[in-house]
């Protein structure tokens, strides 16, 4: 089978992989050990395979791997800061928004992309951002609550840091 080189950045690491030209991004990421990228419906319906491509959420099952040449990818493995969970991940745990966890990685990534763009989203905007993710366990109330809580936690932290900065000065 024919192969080609793929250069890309995954979770901050610059990589160089050998792929077949017709392979899907989902298959390549899993082969490379990113098992947080889940294989669900494989046709764009469930969101389990979601990743951030240059900061934007997409379904990795809907893309050829070769389309990712030169791009930045963030998978759920790259969201925590070493051993320290992202506030969004904390919020999902606190709100009981995780059961089997199959949908969780994708949901956290879509939520992260939303909060990076809109620090104070409405519930409507959160629902809209999560609309591409199916969950068979918790339902949607708890993930939505978790994202809203994480947004206000992030905001409070930003405010505290600003105040602390002003005090230090």
């Amino acid at each position: 089978m024919k192969t080609m080189e793929l250069h890309l950045t995954v979770n901050g690491k610059s990589l160089n992989w050998s792929i077949s030209p017709g392979e899907l991004l989902l298959d390549v990421l899993r082969r490379q050990g990113y098992f947080g990228v889940k294989r669900g419906c494989e046709k764009g319906e469930c969101g389990a395979c979601a990743i951030l491509l240059d900061g934007k959420p997409i379904n990795s099952c809907l893309m050829f791997a070769a389309q990712a040449e030169g791009r930045q990818i963030l998978t759920i493995e790259g969201v925590a800061d070493g051993g320290k969970l992202d506030p969004l991940q904390e919020a999902f745990l606190d709100h009981g928004a995780v059961q089997c966890g199959f949908c969780t990685g994708g949901m956290v990534l879509s939520a992260k992309a939303l909060l990076d763009r809109r620090s104070d989203p409405s519930e409507e905007e959160v629902r809209e951002a999560l609309a591409g993710h199916l969950c068979r366990c918790t339902g949607y109330r708890k993930p939505v609550d978790a994202v809203l809580a994480a947004a206000s936690r992030r905001k409070n932290r930003a405010r505290r840091m600003k105040v602390a900065g002003e005090v230090a000065r």
Binding site: G22, G44, A50, P57, A66, A129
Partner: protein, 289 residues
């Protein structure tokens, strides 16, 4: 799937993309977002041509027209200030209906048209806006009405052509001109069971001066309801006329039954959504029904 693919190309301009497409002997496939190509999973494809580096991602105003490059994504249409300023932001609103946020970051306008699906959501608002497409083939560039293009998009007629851009002429102006898009799907992110776009301009007495109605997923291609449009023109849009137009539209469509809905149901929904679309247009036109 796609085991036979031998090469993946990323041409840097449309000429090169066209050359690759033509040398592919029918076994080359254009990839824009990939959302339709991948799901279709055509096993015979041997060459993939990613056109997203060919300089076709743009939204411009050129003279009195809006020009949208083929690889512009749905997400870009949602956000664009220029598109917000066209027909009350109709195309931005419709782009938001094209699948989930995840899909819309990949899906392109050109792919939506070129795929030739009768349910392609962007087709009906573009038909209502009298859009044209610019195609490129061995003989050069050619502009043709969107309706004509859509009629051939599912056939092999354009298999050696590239869709370069979509051109939307300045819509009729005047305060009376309003727009609506109505879609019924199983869920908020599903493809349309039926979708309807409408554009309406009323004169100062509330009579219909100009009307456009287009329907999707109810015929082999997205279609204009020309009979209904004609029937409305020059008449006051009241409840009786709305009922008449609803019935006329149901006669003009030719829906099929499939896994999503029966033909009878689709026909009924055509009437309902057309009435809703016209009601929305006229409500905004501040003309009481």
């Amino acid at each position: 799937m796609f085991d036979k693919v031998e090469a993946f190309y990323r041409p840097a301009n449309v000429r090169e993309a066209l050359r690759l497409l033509q040398s592919g002997k029918g076994q080359a496939r254009v990839v824009a977002g990939g959302t339709d190509v991948v799901v279709e999973g055509d096993d015979s494809v041997r060459f993939l041509i990613d056109i997203t580096h060919a300089g076709l991602s743009y939204i411009r105003q050129r003279r009195a027209a809006w020009v949208i490059g083929a690889t512009t994504t749905m997400a870009e249409l949602e956000e664009s200030e220029l598109i917000h300023a066209l027909a009350g932001g109709l195309l931005s609103r419709v782009a938001r209906w094209c699948g989930s946020a995840l899909v819309r970051n990949l899906a392109t306008l050109g792919g939506n048209m070129a795929n030739g699906s009768p349910a392609a959501d962007m087709a009906t608002p573009l038909l209502v806006l009298d859009a044209a497409v610019v195609m490129l083939d061995a003989r050069g560039r050619r502009k043709l009405p969107l309706a004509e293009y859509l009629a051939g998009a599912r056939t092999k007629r354009y298999s050696k052509s590239l869709l370069v851009e979509v051109v939307v002429p300045e819509p009729p102006d005047g305060k009376g001109c309003r727009w609506s898009f109505q879609k019924l799907g199983r869920t908020a992110v599903d493809i349309s069971l039926v979708n309807v776009a409408a554009g309406l301009q009323l004169d100062f007495r509330g009579r219909v001066k100009w009307a456009r109605i287009a329907l999707g997923a109810v015929a082999p291609t997205p279609m204009r309801a020309a009979g209904a449009e004609q029937r409305m023109t020059g008449r006051v849009l009241d409840q009786a006329l709305l009922a008449e137009i609803g019935a006329e539209v149901a006669r003009e469509v030719s829906p099929i039954s499939d896994a999503r809905a029966s033909a009878e149901y689709r026909r009924e929904i055509c009437s309902v959504l057309t009435r809703r679309a016209l009601e929305e247009c006229s409500a905004h036109a501040e003309c009481s029904l």
